[in-house]
């Protein structure tokens, strides 16, 4: 699989505080990678390192295969756009002037496409209004428009829906999906709003205390969050045979445990298994959503 961003054993230390503690992550090309973690888990630190705003204390970080230690990283960075925390704008300039400025930073030969970008993010009618007079949502959208200058292949969005109203959230969600599907842009998006992330992400990285605790695809997560009855038995083979006979969907999760994706009659199942001398040891219903799954991974109280 091609990866746009990879890190291995990445560390970032601020004086005595370890913000990243051996973080390893892999953002596949073409993915919408949901980056999930509590406040202070290290999400923004990782994003700052990926954007070249700060430097790792140790470990490896590569963009399009170019290590941050190599000069080639500067070329690789030309292919990315990002909104880190707050939008990076000049408040005294209009939306159009901000985009013109970014076009010049990128060295683009002309200003073609600025109008399209403004229309894409819904700021086409802001005219001579300065960015300092924009609402938070408008600034966020201007930040995204600036990140889109120069047609990047990879976008990094740090909490892009923070402070947006419901309509703004829907607009940004649709914009992200559009960019991913129509332009093939890989997107790394961090957010606290897990429900929102679950609507768009194709891959997830769960971060806790400066390290990735699990990376998985949306399909894998869906499987993990599926409503099921988790059964522990003395003979898994016997249970599998019985479930196959019944045509029930299941997955073997351990040497003595099986998740059954149905609501079986436990008495009937127990009687059927007893014929093969198989006993049911425990039986519990599981119904996890993304939040529950996240909490089960990182433990403790929810901060997400």
């Amino acid at each position: 699989m091609d990866y746009v961003l990879t890190t291995e054993g990445l560390r970032k230390t601020y004086r005595n505080f370890n913000a990243l503690n051996g973080l390893s992550m892999h953002v596949p090309k073409g993915a919408i990678y949901g980056f999930v973690g509590r406040n202070g888990a290290g999400k923004t630190t990782l994003i700052r390192l990926a954007c070249g705003l700060q430097f790792p204390t140790d470990g490896e970080l590569a963009l399009y295969g170019a290590s941050y230690r190599d000069g080639a990283i500067h070329e690789a960075r030309k292919r990315i756009g990002a909104v880190v925390e707050t939008p990076s704008i000049f408040p005294a300039m209009t939306a159009e002037d901000n985009l013109r400025h970014q076009y010049r930073v990128l060295g683009l030969p002309n200003y073609d496409g600025i109008k399209e970008l403004l229309e894409l993010v819904g700021l086409a009618d802001t005219g001579r209004k300065k960015a300092e007079q924009f609402s938070l949502g408008m600034r966020q959208r201007l930040g995204i428009a600036i990140a889109l200058c120069g047609h990047p292949d990879f976008m990094i969005l740090d909490e892009p829906i923070n402070g947006l109203d419901p309509q703004g959230i829907v607009d940004v969600r649709e914009l992200i999906l559009k960019l991913n599907r129509e332009r093939g842009i890989t997107i790394l998006i961090s957010s606290h709003i897990l429900d929102e992330l679950s609507r768009i992400a194709t891959h997830y990285g769960f971060i806790d205390s400066g390290r990735i605790v699990r990376e998985m695809s949306a399909d894998e997560l869906q499987g993990a969050c599926r409503k099921c009855v988790s059964v522990r038995v003395t003979d898994v083979q016997a249970l599998v045979r019985e479930l196959e006979r019944r045509g029930t969907d299941y997955s073997v999760t351990g040497a003595d445990s099986v998740d059954i994706y149905a609501q079986p009659n436990i008495t009937e199942l127990a009687l059927a298994l007893w014929k093969d001398k198989c006993e049911i040891l425990t039986c519990k219903e599981q119904d996890e959503n993304l939040e529950g799954f996240f909490l089960s991974l990182v433990g403790g109280e929810s901060h997400a």
Partner: protein, 245 residues
């Protein structure tokens, strides 16, 4: 680098601080002309030029550096500096671009203020007492002091961005002025104080004039430019290691 220079220069031309500095620095010089017109007719040209020298060597750099610090700090306060890093510009290039545009800014302001004042004096003033060598030496020193102040203020902007940096710059200017006033009294023959006074505009305020040829002007130019280069190298070093948020 060319993209950065173009970007910074066009932003400078659109920034309010540029025009405030331009008008302010020019106003200071013209105030010197009109308020310094008293005295004997023969000494008019010389006395006006001396007042301009004293004011330009301290006030113009202070004014220009303050305005330019606002210009640089705007990138930090709005977070726009991040956009340059994200798209792969090298930090050394970003810093050098600020320096080069700062020098262009200084030259534009100098031309507008001292340049037009020189033309004004040449056309309408009494230039009989002026010696060309003295005027040229003083002008070159004023420009070098402006460069020195600009390079130092850009370094301060990177270390302490925003209003705090500007406040520090003004306090540091005042502290230097006091330092030189005291040291000229207590250690007039100190070589270290002599070299330092040739690096900072604050050290030239009392000595620079067009009545006499400045003491070893080449040494002053050398010291100021060496100090400017040191600030630039130090600035690149600091900026390359700075964590941006």
């Amino acid at each position: 680098m060319r993209n950065l220079l173009r970007t910074d220069f066009l932003r400078l031309l659109k920034s309010r601080s540029f025009y405030v500095a331009l008008v302010g620095a020019t106003a200071i010089v013209y105030a010197c002309i009109f308020f310094g017109s008293s005295g004997s007719p023969e000494a008019k040209g010389v006395s006006i030029c001396n007042v301009i020298c004293s004011m330009s060597v301290l006030m113009t750099p202070l004014f220009v550096s303050g305005a330019y610090m606002l210009f640089v700090s705007a990138e930090f306060s709005g977070g726009a500096i991040r956009n340059k890093m994200i798209v792969g510009h090298r930090r050394a290039n970003v810093y050098l671009s600020w320096n080069l545009i700062g020098l262009a800014f200084g030259m534009i302001v100098t031309t507008a203020s001292i340049g037009t004042a020189a033309i004004f004096i040449a056309l309408f003033g009494d230039t009989s007492g002026l010696i060309a060598d003295h005027v040229i030496a003083a002008t070159v020193i004023v420009i070098c002091m402006l460069i020195s102040k600009l390079c130092m203020s850009i370094l301060i902007s990177v270390i302490i961005p925003g209003a705090k940096g500007m406040l520090f710059n003004y306090l540091f200017t005042y502290a230097l002025l006091m330092f030189f006033v005291i040291m000229y009294d207590f250690a007039p023959d100190s070589k270290i104080v002599d070299v330092l006074s040739r690096c900072f505009p604050e050290g030239q305020v009392t000595s620079l004039n067009v009545t006499f040829m400045p003491d070893r002007p080449w040494l002053t130019v050398l010291c100021a430019l060496a100090f400017s280069a040191l600030c630039a190298v130090l600035g690149v070093y600091v900026f390359k290691r700075k964590d941006l948020s």
